[in-house]
Symmetry: C2
Subunit: 296 residues, 2 copies
Amino acid sequence: MSQANDEYIREESMDDLWNVWYTELHQGKSGLTFKIDRVLESTKSEFQRIEVVETLEFGKALVLYGSLMVAEGDTGAYNEMISHVPLFSHPKPDEILIIGGGDCGCLTNVLMHPEVKRCTMCEIDKMVVEVSKKHFPKLTAGLADPRANLLFEDGKKFIETTDKKFDIVLLDLSDPIGPAADLFQKTFHESVYDRLNDDGIMVAQSESPLFNPHTIKAMYANLKKIFPIVRMYTCLMPIYPSCYWSFAFCSKKYDPIDDFDASRCEATDLSACEYYNKDIHLSAFALPQYVKKLVE
Amino acid sequence: MSQANDEYIREESMDDLWNVWYTELHQGKSGLTFKIDRVLESTKSEFQRIEVVETLEFGKALVLYGSLMVAEGDTGAYNEMISHVPLFSHPKPDEILIIGGGDCGCLTNVLMHPEVKRCTMCEIDKMVVEVSKKHFPKLTAGLADPRANLLFEDGKKFIETTDKKFDIVLLDLSDPIGPAADLFQKTFHESVYDRLNDDGIMVAQSESPLFNPHTIKAMYANLKKIFPIVRMYTCLMPIYPSCYWSFAFCSKKYDPIDDFDASRCEATDLSACEYYNKDIHLSAFALPQYVKKLVE
């Protein structure tokens, strides 16, 4: 007998009924799951869906195109590693370009370096910056810096048409599906190479060493055809698939270990960093056996 | 109107209906979730529940006391790091003792070292070894080695009553709840200290740097009262909470970096290792800022 129309008394409070979990699966086989306290934003820009959720584990988190990008309590590893490793490997990092990087965490870390004259950030989706500014004040602190130069345009088009040159270009992209897909291709990396000064460095996020071996193999093989120095480094990132992330350090001249400026690293105010330090810089290029095989 | 007794046609095959996921939560806030193809064992020993599940992501996996312990495809990081780091830091690792370690992965890695004369493994729960032997032939390969000396007894009792001394003692324990709880206490570590030779090394698994900061702070503070050299090292472990795990290297004499025997490492057949190598050994002691704060 159906009880659908019967009256009854709920014994739970309404709070107990908010059982929303954000789960990010890898090929339907495994995943990371986070209990959500509230959904703070759920919108759609011209380019992608944008969500901000309040997780119990890591605080507020930004979700782009269905992937967790950054969270208040994520240890900062990704944004610190993509920026400080190349910045302390280049003796004169004047002109920096970030492609992507809408959450502004990379920008904020780059601008911790007093040597930087200008940090241009070319992000296709203005709404990501607006949402980040609203919800992540610490992450977006760099926006207030007069050296920050924001462009809201297509990174590929910008790289192919600008006549400017840069000391360091950082590819702070979402996954190679969606709006960032073209920016993982060899032709794009060649265009970046052309926009770098003769001693320039490019760093690109290069996905999970555990879950994206095919992407990594293809990507590094291509990068080695373009740059004389290509080295992978990794970090622990608790909100990304497999909690393990990699970066391609691609350089015309400087080596990230031999040319690491330890004394400048010690003299720079990195008190806001939760992950990066000198030891981490020097050890991040050591790769487990199963990762070595992908890039050697 | 209820349809419970109506006939209908299912459009899925029965295979599609096996939607079993193994999910391990951290304080109800976040978790790792794995799709399960089959449950191969589900039993209970005198001490704990024991399960073997076939995951789609990492193959067969052993679950003890509700925690994932090891999986065929887990990269081997945990077992390789708990064993090779101390073994290559000690110039004459003759007598090794493992407390716990029922899946035998640690034993198998220790016995890759031809220098080892005997590896005693003191595991309280015989059924864990039996289940592991049945399902994980590669992991348990060391059991066939004549240098393997298995004891099925309480590790605490053994340490407190044996008159033997060891060069290296490895505490390969499950979490500090359940059967292993006592083996995380200071009095137990003091007893281990007494059973080590004058140049002995103890390594203890010391939980997740991200999720167990209180355990780690207390544990390292106590260990430093016992051993002159106490250093944390970490690895990426994709089936453990936060995918990030730590080990306490506790030593009477040898330092894991200064006394690392690189040439012996290169001469040893480590072809079965998927994670450990010389670079990883030397870099594993570099700690992110947020972890440094816990142990300094």
